[in-house]
């Protein structure tokens, strides 16, 4: 009986399949992506429609555009290039916006509601996938439209970049006018973009080192109104304040503990040797942290409240150290690059430390990664100072000298994008960014 033919068929088929196997695994070409870019994402922010007067004269889309472009991660489409200005998602002809080069489109409107209320609505659309990503509504008084615009920016930023926005937050800073010896000093709070500035303290004597409480309700600061330094805490909403330390010698560098119950302070005493102390705001108990003849000052709490970072020149010049708050703890040096590292502040996630670092003949803002020890110099000025992190850790505000005047600079943590805040007739300095006061989401 001839069995060869069908067997041969079977064998051939089997072997064909076997030989075809490498072809089958190739039927899904594998690509490995190990890096990307951080190019600005093109977004079209269409001017919001507004019923008469509802927006209180505020250009909501412009505020959103300034907020987002200031981060360096988003590039807004120029209004002159827009061929239509829809205000609702259903009116958006996505093909047009997509072919104009946009990845996302924002459309929105401001409408009056009963009872002197105003609603700000918008939709965020992905031009590439066609999805609608967000459509929140913010309501409030007409005076709060600007704040609502910032909250729109927060939502858009978080949806696109996955990081909580810090656009609806506040800053505080010191403003100085006039020439010596007749200077006028003011402590000012404002929106994070510098708008809505409000003076909360005014004096002919200097004030310095403002610090926000963790709940964003109080500012601690140093005032020389009595011709010597003293530390006060003041409730921002009411103006109510109290003196917390007016001891002989230096009283300086107040820093609130993460639980808001203690203040880290620098006291010099009559011997004039500045050291760190923890002052319990409830019990008034004072606990000494550092000792010795060196200058130890500019304390900043770690996020867990169990250790503090500070400036000390115990090794000859200013460097940054860390010490636990438990009794008997010894300080450990943190910075080793260069001859001048001072004024530490921690990022909200506790992994980065921003400071003033000497870069050649210049004083600049540096960020040190606490895990790796790597330092990046973020700024380019000659006399940059007083850095402070935004509460989302994505930006840093600091002061610098430009055109002979002291101004504020906001810079993205990658150092690539910055915005200036300046006053025409005043020197502005020592900015400090307030924490989030609303819950997330």
């Amino acid at each position: 009986m001839n069995k060869d033919s069908p067997m041969r068929m079977l064998w051939c088929t089997a072997l064909l399949c076997l030989s075809a196997w490498p072809v089958l695994s190739l039927a899904q070409l594998k690509i490995e992506i190990t890096s990307g870019v951080t190019d600005p994402i093109p977004v079209a922010i269409v001017p919001f429609a507004s019923t008469a007067g509802a927006d209180n004269g505020v250009d909501v889309a412009q505020i959103i555009q300034s907020d987002l472009e200031g981060t360096g991660r988003i590039k807004a489409m120029p209004r002159t290039a827009m061929t239509s200005t829809p205000s609702r998602a259903q009116d958006v002809q996505m093909a047009t916006w997509k072919s104009a080069g946009n990845d996302y489109v924002v459309v929105g409107r401001v409408t009056s509601l009963a009872g002197n209320q105003v609603a700000v609505d918008f939709e965020l659309l992905n031009a590439l996938t066609g999805q609608q990503l967000a459509n929140p509504r913010f309501t409030g008084t007409p005076a709060a439209v600007r704040d609502a615009a910032h909250r729109c920016s927060d939502v858009i930023y978080e949806k696109i970049l996955g990081v909580r926005g810090a656009f609806a937050t506040r800053i505080a800073y010191v403003s100085v006018e006039g020439q010596p010896p007749a200077q006028r000093y003011q402590l000012v709070i404002a929106d994070a973009d510098g708008a809505n500035a409000r003076v909360i303290l005014e004096s002919h004597q200097p004030m310095m080192s403002p610090a926000w409480s963790p709940d964003g309700q109080w500012l601690a600061y140093v005032s020389f109104e009595n011709k010597r330094s003293a530390i006060y805490v003041q409730q921002v909403s009411s103006g109510q304040r109290r003196l917390v330390s007016g001891r002989v010698g230096i009283n300086g560098a107040p820093a609130w503990s993460p639980d808001g119950k203690k203040l880290l302070v620098t006291l010099g005493g009559s011997a004039g040797t500045p050291n760190l102390y923890i002052l319990d705001l409830g019990t008034q108990q004072l606990t000494r942290l550092t000792d010795g003849p060196a200058i130890d000052t500019e304390g900043a709490w770690a996020a867990d409240g169990q250790s503090v970072y500070f400036t000390s020149d115990r090794s000859g010049g200013p460097q940054i150290y860390r010490i636990g708050i438990e009794p008997g703890a010894k300080p450990r040096r943190i910075t080793f690059g260069g001859s001048y590292n001072a004024r530490p502040r921690l990022s909200p996630d506790g992994t980065q430390l921003v400071m003033v670092t000497q870069d050649g003949p210049n004083y600049r803002i540096g960020v040190q990664d606490l895990n790796s020890g790597t330092v990046r110099v973020l700024s380019h000025g000659r006399l940059d100072a007083s850095p402070s992190f935004a509460p989302n850790g994505a930006m840093i505000i600091y002061s610098g000298i430009e055109g002979g005047h002291s101004i504020l600079q906001r810079v993205s943590v990658d150092g690539l994008t910055s915005q200036r805040l300046r006053a025409d007739s005043a020197e502005v300095r020592e900015p400090v960014w307030a924490p989030f006061t609303r819950p997330a989401g």
């Binding site: 001839n2 060869d4 033919s5 041969r8 068929m9 051939c12 072997l15 064909l16 076997l18 030989s19 075809a20 196997w21 490498p22 072809v23 190739l26 039927a27 899904q28 070409l29 594998k30 690509i31 490995e32 992506i33 190990t34 890096s35 990307g36 870019v37 951080t38 190019d39 994402i41 990845d103 992905n126 590439l128 996938t129 990503l133 978080e158 949806k159 696109i160 970049l161 996955g162 990081v163 994505a394």
Partner: protein, 266 residues
């Protein structure tokens, strides 16, 4: 991969030879197949064979001694011949008697053999019939075998073509054409992936992308991904931004389905 290579090379070994079959069957041997495959060279003109060289034998000279010997030999020969004749007559008589007996025997035998022959014939007939059936069956089988062989030949031809294509593919692979195309796609997607801050080292996301010839991305589908919503969005966006994807250097290499793994290293 080694198994696949081994299997591939296994297939490449020549198939086993075919054994000879039944009577009168037309056997299509491998050699015939091969011959059928290979082009046959046209017949060449053959030169006529040159005549063989002739050997000339020398004639012996006459000799007196030889003549006497010859006469004596002749006389002896005659005597022998007479004796032989007598023997022959005797033998003939004997033979006749024998022949008679033989005829009788033969007749008996003939009868028997006729019977046997009849039987044999019957047997032969039967056998012939059987053989014919067998022959027909064999013929049919042989035809089927022939057809199968033809088909096998055709399949083999196809196989050999895909072997050849596979060989070219392998050659292309070996020369880096495929990997260079993959690198081009990788570079395009990397430039198009705008990484959100939350896309840190440790991220592991897979995106299944389908393209049509020309490189246009037609579908994207997110597989397993340990990133947040913004990261997932950025990956989907990256595929659309990268469209159209670069064409392969050899059109044979085009692949519709891509598996893109996002694993940033910094």
């Amino acid at each position: 991969m080694a198994v696949l290579v081994y299997g591939y090379f296994q297939f490449r070994r020549p198939p086993p030879p075919i054994s000879a079959l039944a009577i009168d069957a037309t056997v299509v041997s491998q050699a015939t197949l091969d011959a059928a495959q290979r082009p046959v060279a046209p017949p060449q003109p053959v030169a006529p064979p040159s005549p063989p060289p002739q050997v000339v034998q020398p004639v012996p000279p006459p000799d007196q001694a030889a003549q006497q010997a010859a006469a004596q030999a002749e006389a002896e020969h005659q005597a022998a011949a007479e004796r032989a004749e007598a023997a022959h007559e005797h033998a003939a008589a004997q033979r006749a008697a024998d022949q008679l007996a033989a005829r009788k025997h033969a007749a008996a035998e003939e009868a028997a053999s006729a019977k046997a022959e009849r039987e044999a014939q019957a047997k032969a007939k039967a056998k012939a019939a059987e053989e014919q059936t067998a022959r027909r069956a064999a013929e049919a089988q042989a035809k089927a075998a022939a057809a199968a062989k033809m088909q096998a030949a055709a399949t083999q031809a196809d196989l050999q073509r895909s072997i050849a294509a596979e060989e070219r593919l392998q050659a292309a692979r070996a020369s880096g054409a495929l990997s260079s195309w993959a690198q081009q796609i990788q570079a395009r997607i990397q430039r198009a992936w705008i990484r959100p801050p939350s896309a840190r080292s440790g991220l592991d996301c897979t995106l299944y992308v389908t393209q049509v010839p020309g490189g246009e991305v037609v579908t994207v589908r997110l597989g397993a991904c340990n990133g947040d919503d913004a990261v997932k969005q950025s990956i989907l966006d990256a595929a659309y931004r990268a469209s159209p994807l670069p064409a392969p250097p050899d059109p044979n290499l085009f692949e519709r389905n891509l598996e893109v793994n996002f694993r940033p290293t910094d």
